[in-house]
């Protein structure tokens, strides 16, 4: 199987030992979304391969294919040179493939030993679990990993995240895992714990395991990985040895792309500040956030997942509380205590998860649109249905919603049209500031263009928009200014004039230019 016949930057790979796992020509689509297209990946024994890519590049989908949760639409999976299939998670497990996720998938109320041997516990000759052997074996596995400090009888709940990772690795060791996938394992760890995890990865390497390491953090990647593979928009765009490749080169691979989407031309008329935030802090999520949003402006918020962007927006929208700081709207200081307060003041937040936080499936379109405006379309608690309907009609028409009737259940609409319902619902509250969190995540190109066109229309009418987005083209194509957040703080604010994607990625990841 030819694994190098791909476009992009391909470096000459030195003759290594034969790969333990090869994925070649893998494609996977979901309704309306092409998650992976003709991607390849090889993992070598005793080496760590870093999988790098923006959000939505297809990394998680690939992990799910490797662990037997998804079936690829096309392509081949080879293990030790033999073509095979992974029809179930059990099959992947049988091949010695194991994944360690950001949030470990273990059992909090079972003991460490039980977690390690769940599903393959040693048995006595009566067929019951041989507890003594299980405990001894667990201790032995932990010892070999130099993790003897973990008590095999302790309940998992009482362990820290780093130690839970160790237990997950111990479990991998106990089934003789040969391929270990680590999906952002450091996301919730402290510096010291990360060091311990790296020692463990070194141990796995020396033990001949093939490791796939997924991380957004370049310092970690360069520290621990030998090879890299870069994904972009579901395609493999480069692979090679890290010692031959600079950070900037990888950043270029991540962001370089064909422009397949035209953003609306705007002539922004930017006015006085509408929303001013200063010193906004939260005990755990963000610190000292200050920015200004001006009338008629689209302010982009870029950052890695977990940088605290959504949390800041939720605080401004009254959904979470802050510990310090001030928010003022048109010069008046506000302290929203609930979403209703913010909506009343004129700030609306369109949340990221359309399904969970946005549409109310089971209610008709018009009731979805009017939900946050009920106070206005009712009189002393009694609804005025005609007004409600007119409100819904005017906003859904402006967004060009495709539905047979406004009484139709939103659940029957496509993702793009559901997103329009969500946006219509917030516009109907007649806001001054509208915060869009990942407004086009997971919707098709056509609906994206409609949402972008509408954003342009909104600001042209004098509204102010904050757009949280992890999609670089969207940030660069729509924003007037861009705020970049990193680890709960504002890293930089840029005017979007001649701003390039690499600068943003470097700032977000904390790489010096």
């Amino acid at each position: 199987m030819d694994t190098t016949a791909h476009h992009g930057t391909i470096k000459e790979l030195p003759p290594a030992s034969a790969p333990r796992l090869t994925l070649s020509g893998i494609s996977k689509s979901f309704p309306g979304v092409r998650a992976l297209h003709n991607v390849s990946l090889s993992l070598y024994p005793g080496q760590v391969t870093a999988l790098i890519g923006e959000n939505g590049a297809g990394k998680s989908t690939l992990v799910k294919i490797m662990t037997g949760i998804y079936q690829p639409d096309a392509g081949e999976i080879g293990i030790d040179g033999e073509v095979t299939t992974l029809p179930s998670a059990h099959a992947a497990f049988g091949h010695g493939i194991t994944a360690i996720h950001q949030e470990t998938v273990l059992f909090d109320d079972l003991s460490v030993a039980e977690n390690i041997f769940l599903g393959h516990a040693p048995r006595t000759r009566f067929g019951t679990i041989d507890w003594r052997t299980m405990r001894n074996n667990a201790r032995e596995v932990l010892e070999t990993m130099r993790a003897g400090h973990i008590d095999a009888d302790a309940r998992l709940r009482d362990l820290g995240i780093a130690n839970k990772h160790l237990v997950a690795v111990a479990r991998a060791m106990s089934i003789d895992a040969r391929i270990v996938i680590m999906d952002e394992p450091t996301a919730a760890l402290s510096m010291k714990e990360i060091e311990e995890l790296f020692l463990l990865i070194e141990f796995l390497k020396s033990d001949g395991k093939a490791v796939l390491f997924i991380s957004h953090k370049f310092d970690e990647i360069y520290r621990i990985a030998d090879r890299y593979t870069v994904f972009r928009d579901g395609e493999m765009v480069g692979e090679g040895l890290l010692k031959d490749t600079g950070q900037n080169e990888i950043v270029r691979m991540m962001v370089g792309r064909n422009v397949d989407h035209i953003f609306p031309q705007r002539a922004p008329k930017i006015g006085a500040p509408v929303l001013s935030v200063s010193g906004l802090s939260h005990p755990t999520e963000f610190d000292d956030i200050g920015f200004e949003l001006r009338k008629g402006e689209i302010l982009g918020f870029y950052g890695l997942v977990g940088a605290g962007r959504s949390e800041v927006m939720q605080a401004i929208a009254g959904i979470t509380r802050t510990s310090r700081g001030t928010i003022s709207l048109e010069g008046n200081s506000i302290a929203p205590k609930s979403a209703a307060d913010s909506i009343e003041a004129g700030i609306v937040y369109v949340p990221e998860e359309r399904g969970k936080q946005g549409v109310v499936i089971g209610l008709p379109i018009f009731q979805n649109v009017s939900l946050p405006s009920l106070a206005r379309t009712s009189k002393s608690g009694v609804l005025k249905l005609a007004e409600e309907f007119a409100l819904a009609r005017s906003y859904t028409e402006r967004l060009d919603l495709r539905a047979s009737s406004l009484s139709q259940d939103v659940g029957t609409l496509s993702g793009g049209n559901q997103q329009k319902v969500v946006i219509a619902k917030w516009l109907a509250t007649a806001p001054k500031v509208i915060i869009l969190d990942e407004p086009t995540k997971g919707i098709d190109i056509g609906s994206k263009a409609a949402v972008h066109g509408f954003m342009a229309e909104l600001v042209a009418q004098g509204l102010s928009v904050i757009m949280v987005s992890s999609e670089l083209p969207e940030i660069l194509g729509m924003s007037d200014r861009v705020v970049v957040m990193r680890e709960g703080r504002i890293a930089a604010t840029y005017d979007n004039k001649g701003l390039d994607a690499e600068t943003l990625v470097r700032t977000a990841a904390g790489i010096a230019a």
Partner: protein, 325 residues
Amino acid sequence: MKNFLKYREIWLLAGIVVLIGLISTRFPGFADPANLRQVFNDTSILMILALGQMVVILTRSIDLSMASNLCFTGMVVAMLNATHPAIPIPVLIVVAVLVGLVLGAINGFLVWRLNIPSIVVTLGTLTIYRGATFVVSGGAWVNADQMSPDFINFQRAAFLGLPVLSWIAILVIALFFLVMTRTQIGRSMYAIGVNPTASVYAGIDVGRTKFIVFCISGMIGGLAGYLWISRYVIASVEVANGYELNIIAACVIGGISIAGGIGSVGGAVLGALFLGIISNALPVINISPFWQMAISGSAIILAVVLNARGERRQGRIILRKAEAA
């Protein structure tokens, strides 16, 4: 027409018509308007209770204490009537509703402020309210001869061809219909039941709404307390013991989803009527009460199966989203 058939209430209504038809083959007088009026009157209390339970279930909660509330409130108004027969009946009804409101507010407060799951709260108050009935009555009964004639006859008085009890049920149904379709609080109940997270973002106070639904079910329990005691003319600690399950059964048969967010006033009323018809008709056509239980049970399971089929589409959308994520 096709849209019309989409409403599960229509299917339930059709089922009830078929059931009445079947019963009529064995007991020709059953479908007489006079008899159907009687069945409606007999089912009035269950219908009212089912509506009170419906609003709770819609918001993903449950009120197991309704029958105990009914028992306690019934005892309070019966004792009040026995000791102060001069108190006019409308005043007693207001007292019943207010006592019920207090009991419901206790449930609602615990669910809202202490964040205890409603099934746990009301399982506790189910026992407490019945125990409280014993405490206020000292275990004694209030019998028919201790109640004033007005107390007993109020709901039996005929008004425009129907007993007052039936009119009260019709009034409550109409009121619930208006609340559920025409008010902000009614709309909020559905929104919370379907998607509590989105409701929070839309500025709906989920906790407060849950408190209000428990207040509503409490008031209904209180109202039903007076109606029940004056109908069966005995107040004791044993009144309506276990009846909470009939109330929930009526809701489930009526298509109200235990998962919340789905259900209608029409459904709850028809669900109660279905059970009312079964318990009225089967004895007269000589079917043992045990069969009656089996039929009610089968109806519950059938209703859940049919409703699950109706909701499957929704589940698939969620799954698709999970996959695409």
